[in-house]
């Protein structure tokens, strides 16, 4: 079992003709993902990596029966691309694009709340169910199929933790990068909720970082609703207030909200051990299983 994606997921790639879109479409197909169509305005009728391209997402969905989309559209047009995807009632939209203006995402978020579609991202590496499908840019070779669910705000930190898990023989059910922006679709709570309902997920790793209060919300959710054990990691303990640490959402406010300490405390209070190093997180998971 897995959450959100599996080998039945039929994917349309928005922005498939761009450099990134083309490269990662090839990588996704090589991994075994069922990429059925591309969508790029003005490029309808072309073919990329053996996949037919349509002018609109609607056209692609109608012709190829897609139920998920991955977005590799440049930031200036990516907000529009998410709207287009939301208007076709897909089950899942994964927005990889980094650098979408926050106010564009605020408008997207409003529309999202009126639909049944799940949005993952933006500014995320995507989602992978090892051995079945990956939607995004995660390097497939570091993942192994197994019992651990993983949810993270950061891409490369996910790879680090996954490699620590895989080295110990701890494979993954599904790994999700939820994205480093201030406004994102799927939250920690959404992902944790799904992992809790997945009988194959025996333990969960959540990798948070400074900024916002999503980790604190997650801690509350874990304490109240989860039987599956969770281990945590929080990046940004040394981040100074008021500075954006790479991710648009990774910022401790002047008054000190969104600090690593506040998140670590919240998780510890919910019974979640938080590793000082990524390797320590893998050790906690090993102890759980």
């Amino acid at each position: 079992m897995s959450i959100f994606v599996d080998d039945d997921t039929r994917v349309v790639v928005q922005g498939i003709t761009g450099g990134e879109g083309k490269f990662h479409t090839e990588q996704m197909i090589e991994y075994g993902t069922n990429v059925v169509a591309g969508a790029v305005p003005g490029k309808g009728g072309q073919e990329v990596a053996g996949v037919p391209v349509y002018d609109t997402v609607d056209g692609a969905v109608e012709a190829e029966d897609a139920d998920a989309s991955v977005i590799f559209v440049p930031p200036a047009f990516a907000g529009d691309a998410v709207f287009e995807a939301l208007d076709t009632n897909l089950d899942l939209v994964v927005a990889i694009t980094e650098g979408i203006p926050t106010q564009d995402m605020a408008k997207v978020n409003k529309r999202l709340s009126e639909t049944d579609t799940r949005l993952i991202g933006p500014n995320c590496p995507g989602i992978i169910t090892p051995g079945e499908a990956k939607l995004g840019i995660l390097p497939g070779n570091i993942f192994e199929s197994g019992d651990v669910g993983l949810v993270s705000r950061s891409g490369t930190l996910t790879y680090q933790v996954v490699s620590n898990l895989t080295e110990r023989g701890l494979g993954q059910t599904t790994a999700i990068g939820i994205g480093g922006d201030p406004i994102i679709g799927t939250s920690f709570v959404d992902a944790l909720d799904a992992f809790e309902s997945d009988p194959d997920t025996k333990a969960v790793v959540m990798c948070g970082e400074i900024g916002g209060e999503d980790e604190e919300q997650a801690a509350k959710f874990i304490a109240q609703n989860m039987d599956t054990p969770v281990a945590g990691f929080i990046a940004g303990r040394t981040a100074p207030p008021g500075k954006r640490m790479g991710h648009a959402g990774a910022i401790v406010s002047g008054s000190g909200t969104g600090t690593a300490q506040s998140k670590i405390d919240a998780l510890n209070n919910a019974g979640v051990p938080v590793g000082d190093t990524p390797n320590e997180v893998a050790e906690y998971v090993e102890d759980f299983l």
Partner: protein, 381 residues
């Protein structure tokens, strides 16, 4: 990107928000000239990105030319919480009866902007929010529609703003929302809005943070970026297009991906060192970018040793290794010891290419950080 007060006030004034008369000055003589035009009392305000400037001695009120000269000498060049003051804003002193607060920010939890108004202006609004949250009235804004005029009035009434100025404050709030939206601000605030004896309202301070991800469609604001930079190294990082934050330690850090770079900083601290910076080369960096990153970190005179940590997803280890070689082979003597850890995509190819005469290599994140911390300790002795 945070605008300086003088930059934000220019933006506010252009939009019709009343601001005091002011001149920007970089020398004592310019300050004296400015006060002679403005008259007394005049405020001399350090233009640095530091909260609580007044308490730290960065704002003085001059009532005579001698005082103005004295304060200008005191403030220009002073170190304010780690930032050197290079510019001051010389501004007419406003005789006020009340100090109010208005601001708009993004409520991340709700995913929509929120307008905030309070009669408790002129003090640190975040401590007001903590101690007496009921003193701040809030109104969430549907980003699809913007701030309706009734909402601006409502939040002003809810805050208990005096009736005779409520209309003017609501109007300022509406203008601020227009700016928030049209300029892609992430935060905009006036603290305080001063109410004069004549019951006029005026923006005595101005805070405006711009969403860096929206600068591509804000060319006028993008031009302000260099001037807004906190120091030379941050300006250089803008030039190279790096996400860079300077800290006060001596271990330089380069990596890919925000979360992993933050983690590398944290581990430096965990193993007893002090991080000098955050530098994210981003995804898919080519050799030239890697060399630029080393140049950035070497330019920081506080740095005694460097750790280069890459976990390649879309970034390729061979490209990183090429960049490290190119950068280091250009030196007769490597200025600071560099520890490299490569993992992920093409890491093996990278390890073959990497000139290990020039760098230390470690296989794990923990070992690489520990080695760099040791190198820094040795170099600083």
């Amino acid at each position: 990107m945070r605008l300086h007060e003088y930059q934000a006030k220019d933006v506010f004034a252009d939009a019709g928000v009343p601001v005091p008369e002011s001149h920007l000055a970089t020398t004592v003589e310019e300050v004296v000239e400015a006060v002679s035009e403005i008259g007394f009392p005049a405020a001399i305000k350090a233009q640095v990105h530091v909260g609580g400037r007044g308490k730290a001695g960065g704002i003085k009120i001059a009532t005579s030319e001698e005082e103005a000269r004295q304060y200008a000498e005191d403030i220009l060049g002073m170190d304010l919480k780690g930032y050197t003051v290079e510019k001051v804003l010389v501004e007419e002193g406003v005789d006020f009866e009340n100090e109010l607060y208005v601001g708009i920010t993004m409520d991340r939890g709700e995913g929509e902007p929120v307008a905030m108004v309070s009669t408790e202006g002129g003090v640190d609004i975040e401590s007001v929010a903590e101690e007496t949250p009921e003193a701040i009235a809030r109104e969430h804004i549907d980003p699809a529609f913007g701030l309706h005029p009734y909402q601006a009035r409502k939040v002003v009434y809810d805050a208990g703003i005096p009736k005779d100025v409520a209309g003017d404050v609501a109007s300022i709030l509406s203008t601020l929302y227009d700016l928030y939206e049209s300029k892609d601000a992430s935060e905009i605030e006036i603290n305080p809005v001063m109410v004069t004896a004549d019951r006029e309202v005026i923006a005595a301070d101005a805070v405006m943070n711009i969403d860096e991800d929206a600068l591509f469609r804000q060319p006028e604001l993008a031009e302000m970026e260099d001037e807004a930079a906190a120091d030379d190294l941050e300006a250089k990082a803008n030039e190279y297009g790096f996400d860079y934050v300077r800290l006060s330690g001596n271990v330089g850090i380069i990596g890919n991906g925000a979360g992993l770079v933050m983690t590398t900083l944290d581990l430096v601290d965990h193993f007893g060192g002090q991080p000098a910076n955050f530098l994210d080369i981003g995804g898919g960096a080519k050799a030239e970018r890697v060399a630029n990153a080393l140049d950035m970190v070497f330019s920081d005179e506080n740095v005694d040793a460097v750790v280069f940590n890459i976990f390649g997803g879309i970034t390729r280890g061979d490209e990183v290794a090429k960049g490290i070689n190119e950068a280091l082979e250009s030196f007769e003597e490597i200025p600071k010891k560099v520890v490299v850890r490569l993992a992920g995509t093409n890491a093996e190819e990278g390890m073959e290419i990497l000139n290990t005469d020039l760098v230390d290599v470690e296989a794990t994140l923990e070992d690489a950080v520990q080695r760099a911390v040791e190198n820094a300790q040795e170099a600083s002795q």
